[in-house]
Structures are given as structure tokens and as C-alpha cells.
Symmetry: C2
Subunit: 107 residues, 2 copies
DNA sequence: TAGTTATATAACAACTAAGTTATATAATCG
DNA sequence: CGATTATATAACTTAGTTGTTATATAACTA
């Protein structure tokens, strides 16, 4: 699962998560994404490249603009992987419940 | 949400995800976690420190051993954040559906 | 108590990441 | 066509990550 590396790594950066949060409101061009941050345009362009590489966003060409929007694929992959942890945590939690239930009578 | 940085960043490494997958099967000591990897014990110890710092695992002291197990907190935080993306993706998808539905009659 | 086992930490090398400025490309506007 | 706007890329700097080996600590074992 090499793509999970890219996806989680992309999400590890707060600027990139903020970009995604902005795109959750709808499509935006590069300059629209630059505006709210105290970063230069090349910095944002590179963040977008990382997000695109991770499958978290897609871009279309519209004249000289490149509007970005959220892509579903990476999120689905992440969800699937996290599902494994969720299930394990539930199981362990049940087990703990069992242990506690077994202990109570002893007390 | 500073902790999301640590959580996503911890999950970005395949060795650490493999460690979590192993812990999903149940508690394990450091040496038990070293065994399946072609890495040295200090390397694994540091990965564990990262996972602990991210709130993905907890460790107890048992004599000279430090058994590790999964912790639920970070996964819950991640799920919560991803929920935002999931909802946005659903909305955008619905919107796309709407667009496609609106286009069909025109064709 | 001396040796062994389990784990942590320090110091270092190699690599990657994130930001900057300067510059290139390419579409649009007048 | 020339100027402007939108975006990308290159070169560089600084900082962080991942691995290694060597060593420290601390609890068991004989």
C-alpha cells in the first residue's frame, strides 16, 4: 500500500489540511488558495502538487487557471486502512470489558 | 489541532503502520515487535516513541518489559477530521449528480 | 553480586521536506 | 503584438526524519 504513505504524509501538514478544508467548501484556483495563507504562491503550488500526488485533489485546466477540488479515492483508501485499527480497538475494548466484568465478582 | 500533525505523520511511515497492524492482533513487547522487521531495536524503539507521542499506542511497565498496545484517542481524532472531507465529498458528489441530471434532458 | 536480557538514549550520516527568491511558460486583455 | 495574470519550476537554505553503532540503565537469573 504505497499510496497510503503519500496520503498520510500529505495530511500530516497543517497547511495542506487547511487547503483541503477550504476545498471542502468548493473548487478554488491556486491564487484563491494562496490568499488566506501567509505563504508564497510557489509554496502553495508545491503543496497542491503533493495533494494531487496523494490522490486527495484533482485539477482541471480552465484557460490559464487550474481550479482544484477534492478527490474521493485517497480518503476511501485511508478509511479502509483505519477500519482495521477501528475493529481492533473495538475488539480490545470488548476484551477489556470482559476482563473488568470478570474481575468485579472477585472484589 | 496540533495532534493531527503527529497522528498523520506517524501513520505516514510503513514500518509504523505495520507495527500498528501487529498490535491490532494484541499487545507486544519491543523485542517482539523488532523480530519481524529487518531493523535494529533502537530503530523500532524510536518508531514506538513516535506512535506513543501521536497517541496511537500506550505502553505499560512489566518488569524489564514494556508491552505496547493500541490506543483509541488518535484514531478517533483522525476519524473526526476525515469526517469533514467525507461529508464534503458526498456533497460534491451529489452536486455532480445534480449537474449530470440537469444536463441529460438538454442532450 | 556478576552476567544476561530488555529497553532507551546519544551521536552521527544520508535523505527528505518546506520555505524562499528568481525565472519560465502560457493564456488573456487591450 | 506587448503587457498582464496565473501557474510552474529551479536553485538554494534550513530543519527534520530515519537509519546506524555504541553505550547507558535497570530488572531479572544463577
Amino acid at each position: 500500500m504505497a499510496n497510503l504513505d503519500a496520503a498520510f504524509s500529505a495530511l500530516a501538514d497543517p497547511t495542506r489540511r487547511a487547503i483541503l478544508a477550504r476545498l471542502a467548501l468548493g473548487e478554488a484556483t491556486v491564487m484563491e488558495l494562496v490568499e488566506p495563507f501567509e505563504l508564497t504562491q510557489p509554496a502553495i503550488s508545491r503543496h497542491l502538487k503533493v495533494l494531487e500526488g496523494a490522490g486527495l485533489i484533482v485539477r482541471r485546466v480552465e484557460g490559464t487557471k487550474r481550479p482544484c477540488r477534492l478527490a474521493p479515492t485517497a480518503v476511501a483508501e485511508i478509511d479502509q486502512w483505519l477500519g482495521m485499527l477501528r475493529r481492533a480497538l473495538e475488539t480490545n475494548y470488548d476484551r477489556l470489558d470482559g476482563v473488568l466484568a470478570a474481575m468485579k465478582p472477585e472484589k
